[in-house]
Symmetry: C2
Amino acid sequence: MINSMNKKVTINDIATIANVAKSTVSRYLNGGSVSEHTRLKIDRIVAQYNYTPNTFAQSLKQQKNHTIGVIVPRLDSIAQSDMLRGLDDLNKDDTFLIVNAYQDAKRELAAIEKLHSQNVGGIILLTANLTDEIRDVLKASPLPIVIQGQDEPNFHRVIMDDLAAGKAVGQYIKTLAPKNVLLLNVDTKIDQAVGHDRFVGIKAALAETPHQEIITDFKLDTAKADSYQAMQTDDFDLVIGATDRIVVGAMQSAFALKQHPKFIGFGQSFFSETVSPNLTSFEFNFYETGKQLYRLFLKVRDDKPVDVQRVIMNGHLVVRESTE
Amino acid sequence: MINSMNKKVTINDIATIANVAKSTVSRYLNGGSVSEHTRLKIDRIVAQYNYTPNTFAQSLKQQKNHTIGVIVPRLDSIAQSDMLRGLDDLNKDDTFLIVNAYQDAKRELAAIEKLHSQNVGGIILLTANLTDEIRDVLKASPLPIVIQGQDEPNFHRVIMDDLAAGKAVGQYIKTLAPKNVLLLNVDTKIDQAVGHDRFVGIKAALAETPHQEIITDFKLDTAKADSYQAMQTDDFDLVIGATDRIVVGAMQSAFALKQHPKFIGFGQSFFSETVSPNLTSFEFNFYETGKQLYRLFLKVRDDKPVDVQRVIMNGHLVVRESTE
DNA sequence: TTGTACGCGTTATCAA
DNA sequence: TTGATAACGCGTACAA
């Protein structure tokens, strides 16, 4: 299948061997008009020498390229991995350049600038928690850009309906009739969609119920430590975390303290089905989200819409053992 | 920081504005000899117009490119993510094109061929479980290629010392003095390093101890079902799985059956520290492995060694709650 | 249908 | 130190 010669064969080589002009080969490759005879001839030669066009020359000539930079906050997450799969599955002509920002705004900014210097044809930002600096750089970019996760008014985006998610969880809470609830949330300044939107419906549902809210962060260890402290001084029969990861931290604290509250999380993750008991959580379809992101990107890149585009994804509550 | 004009500024533009030849600008960019005067002049203009070289033109001209295709079997795994981070952290001039093979040999083959057609400058294959077909394609490739995970005699590779790992676990087992052990293994034809090498030392240590070996696969659900069946008919006080994921499946079965054996796994994963009890497992340093992979790749690409290169990584046993 | 000639942005060679 | 020019591989007017 793959030519084992060291020098790559070019369109010129093919042309020489076939005894035609390279423009004829180029037409052949791009579906232009070629006679039956020459087509068959070139067919054979291309197959034999396993010719593939030089993508660099193509991009250079065509003044556009099909490399899309994808910035992800982390790789070891089902949500991210599913979105990437969604992008992959819809893609035909593009190449994704995946960059891990390691959940660090500085690295994210650096990644954006590096992608520009690498001449990508566009950028997709997953789970974007934008700083002012990043916003500025993105605004100044001439590239088609699509973000995911935050409802940023000035950017084309695919967002999750976190308000509805919180509302659904709120409804469900009422059926559990808890006596004392622990809310493990994150800073709204760091993540508005998660920290604020997800909890609107929950807090509304808890208006008459004793509850305590703690601000922790996305890391398992932090959530574990923070929840441990809360659980030491108070006894909860329901714990709701802003993400599954956070809830797992809380589960470990409860385990250590021999407490057995119910648990509800957000997000589709390893955790839901690997922890015991399996975790009840509100799940989004990130695979579909990836597809929508790619569709939106193509629209932005190819149609150059004047209005800012906004796509909303919804999800559903999956009840598992942790609330039984 | 980033030019907001739609047309990218080229070396020609810079030259025109600076009133010099483009070759002078090129020399300036590549550290050739330029007078103090013109250097300062170009300095300003490059900064002002935020010029960055067109990487496609560079690659085309230089006849080599700095894009390395990295094929990973899955993305939602700490091991993979850590290796990628290792690659990242050592990298300066290269660009990694990450392709998810979704643990499917067909997709892996397709990925290899697509990377060739995308003119990557080399390929790194993570956790490579090669089929004959893939071996053939790789052998025929003119590109520098490095693989990880399997001790493939004909390929430059970085492997884990699974033999030593198994030996270490074997030693540890003896201190536990188990009465009846369940081994959850995978098909050696699918993964020689895991299925065979890891278990040599373990089986040696269990020569005098009753034990049962079951062949399952890498998926959590399969491991869960397979172990459930075994645990129904027999009672084990120690379960050893070929990977952490497999062990977590077994933990769920044990949980369901109200059994409480000890557990030992392999691999550094989410699981080790998210499941309760935390999992004792033999862990490799995949971050360091990623670095070694990149070093090896550079060596292969730049020095073109005649001998096949082989790097071995070792790890260590981390004892946690699951064997206490 | 086919071929010629040029240009994409860059680097390298060679004179000046 | 500088600049004119050719070349990398490809696509595309334009002419034949």
